[in-house]
Amino acid sequence: MIKVDNLHKTYGNLKVLKGISTSIASGEVIAIIGPSGSGKSTFLRCLNLLEKPTEGKIYINDVDITNPKTDIAKVRQNVGMVFQHFHLFPHKSVLDNITYAPITVKGLSKQEAEKNGKELLQKVGLLEKASEYPNRLSGGQKQRVAIARALAMNPDVMLFDEPTSALDPEMVKEVLEVMKDLAQTGMTMAIVTHEMGFAKEVADRVLFLDGGLLVEDAPPSEFFTAPKTKRAQEFLEKML
């Protein structure tokens, strides 16, 4: 479903990604972990071209998204993204946040979009907040709305960029629960996270990045109990 081939990203002299190749199968849940500055967020943001790769190719559903001729807006419609800082639209109500893109981009009728939107709000447990503005919500609620907003486009894959890192500790769980439910529906997910417990429990594979390279790629059972590289061992010692 996603294939990454020799991905490089450079900012001026700074090499953030130094040739990453991997693939993500349909329905797979991938946890991307690594120390800060390892390039894990940049890697994720390349997958929907919020960062433009300097070199290498990325295929989503066999479409080369790094090809300048590819209609990237079209590709992004099928790739949902959830950000660390939510980025809800503050001037729109919760429901309007969710229905905006389906109506504007996909041309859904308002009724249809609102029906879907309410179902999604029900799923993330926030139906009663439909007409609130984002500023009235807690961090955890905002992130659940952001997840619903991304899901409203009916994406094939969901990207999560440290979805719980900006949350107060007591709100992390409610967001992880929603993500866990989502994983169980068979959604393809790529998650940059520092939540090792969550990665261990939910991920099918762990990608460990360090210094812009993919250092380890293993199922969590292997990675967390018997990491192969010294770098991963050191990292895990610090985290656990």
Partner: protein, 220 residues
Amino acid sequence: MDFLNFSSIVPSLPFILEGIWVTLKIVVLSLLLGFVWGIILALFKISRIKPLMWVADAYTSIFRGTPLVLQLLIIYFGLPQILGFPIDPYPAAVAAFTLNSGAYISEIIRAGINAIDKGQQEASMALGVPYSKMMKDIILPQAFKNILPALMNEFITLTKESAIVTVIGVQDIMRRAYQVGADSYNYFAPLLFAGLIYYLLVMFLTLLGKGIEGRMRRSD
């Protein structure tokens, strides 16, 4: 207290009051056109397309760097020499105010757009929202909320500055008050009266601005 002889100008008040429509016609149209022109210039400035940025920056530099009254005189007296036909005072005034206020408004809007968190653009892009719709539905509405006080300031300035159309003979509030003074050798009362009208117009704009601001604060 002869100079405060208001009773003697009472018969002339309707004549001065008629100037309100002349002033309003110029100000309202210039505000609307200047606003649209300001948005276009602001979009040029943030477009990252070099020629558009240069044009918009040079334009702003020139129209902010020279007196408004000079721009008005160039359009009214100077341009006809090149064009070969005269320009009426009214369109000349609207053109000058639109071109001038567009320069100021574009800077206000550019600052407003830049102040919006980059994440808003990223969230829109990630949802596949095209640039034009993102600007119209996501970025500009948020920017306007923040820059409303600065915009109202610009509108108020324009309303008062419109008095300089007097120099090209437009019969606005200012010119009429001055004429009444000249006719009766009593300047003080009609000029004070003109001042009162401008003040009330500005107060109206201020209240309007506060009303709009209040409505936009709903989402806070």
